[in-house]
């Protein structure tokens, strides 16, 4: 049983789709944030697969950088979510309508 690049691309695009669905459908800010992480993860998977099948190292290095940026982003984003919760007592997106005219 051999696995080509197609299977990895299919899995990673499905994962990206699920993360996108999460961003669209959910109202909880933390879940939306986790879905964004899931999308980043799907892109990582595709990058590693391409890097493996192209026989180059650049994709793996890129995944390394993406992971670092994602960690930093999670730290900042969660701090912002905590701040929003302290100010508004909610983290549901449809209740954050301060900018509504």
């Amino acid at each position: 049983m051999t696995i080509g690049i197609n299977e990895f691309i299919i899995v990673s695009s499905l994962l990206f789709l699920i993360g996108f669905l999460g961003v669209i459908l959910r109202r909880n800010t933390i879940i939306i944030f986790m879905s964004i992480e899931l999308m980043l993860n799907a892109v990582n998977l595709a990058l590693v697969a391409f890097s493996r099948y192209n026989n180059t190292m650049d994709g793996s290095i890129f995944v390394f950088f993406i992971m670092t940026v994602a960690a930093a982003e999670v730290a900042v984003g969660l701090a912002i979510i905590v701040m929003i919760y302290r100010q508004r007592q909610t983290i549901l997106v449809n209740e954050l309508n301060q900018l509504k005219g």
């Binding site: 993360g19 992480e37 793996s60 983290i91």
Partner: protein, 168 residues
């Protein structure tokens, strides 16, 4: 893996969806191992399933978003199924490692050994990883370090400013 991702997105309880997220991340690490990127797989488990998800769970606990959900009636059934699943997995593992009957092994399509000129061939050791990181990608590496520093300071500033505001 895709199932747990779906459960993560659709679950009402935030803690449950975080747990399913951990399952998804660990299985992605398994796919990395299948792709012979061992270093990235270890990094995935450490950074994502370790640090990031602990941060998420901590924030969920801190905010206590979904109050008053009574999942008590489901807990007995879930615990039973979890025990069953865990024991069957353990039995399968032991059986598989001590018997001659193996799982159908998967193998990747062989990569061509002729890479283009000027590119570095794919390798799974951490040594080649570090070598490329410190020669070809030196500037992005330092930028990433600076970015981490900026993020750290930014988080400290955000939380500190808020706490002085609430004291006033």
């Amino acid at each position: 893996m895709l199932l747990s991702a779906l459960v993560m997105v659709l679950n009402k309880n935030a803690v449950n969806s975080a747990m399913c997220m951990i399952v998804t991340l660990v299985s992605t690490a398994g796919l990395f191992i299948l792709l012979e990127a061992y270093f990235l797989a270890i990094l995935q488990v450490l950074v994502y399933a370790g640090a990031v998800m602990v941060l998420f769970l901590f924030i969920i606990m801190l905010l206590d978003v979904d109050k008053g959900n009574n999942y008590e009636y489901l807990k007995q059934k879930f615990a039973f199924f979890a025990q069953l699943l865990g024991f069957s997995l353990l039995f399968f593992l032991v059986f598989n490692s001590f018997s001659k009957i193996y799982l159908p092994t998967t193998e990747l399509v062989q990569i061509s050994n002729v890479g283009e000129a000027g590119t570095i061939a794919f390798s799974n050791t951490a040594k080649s990883f570090g070598q490329i990181l410190f020669t070809k990608y030196m500037l992005p590496f330092q930028v990433i370090g600076f970015l981490l520093l900026v993020a750290m300071i930014g988080v400290i500033v955000i939380s500190k400013k808020q706490s002085t505001d609430t004291e006033k």
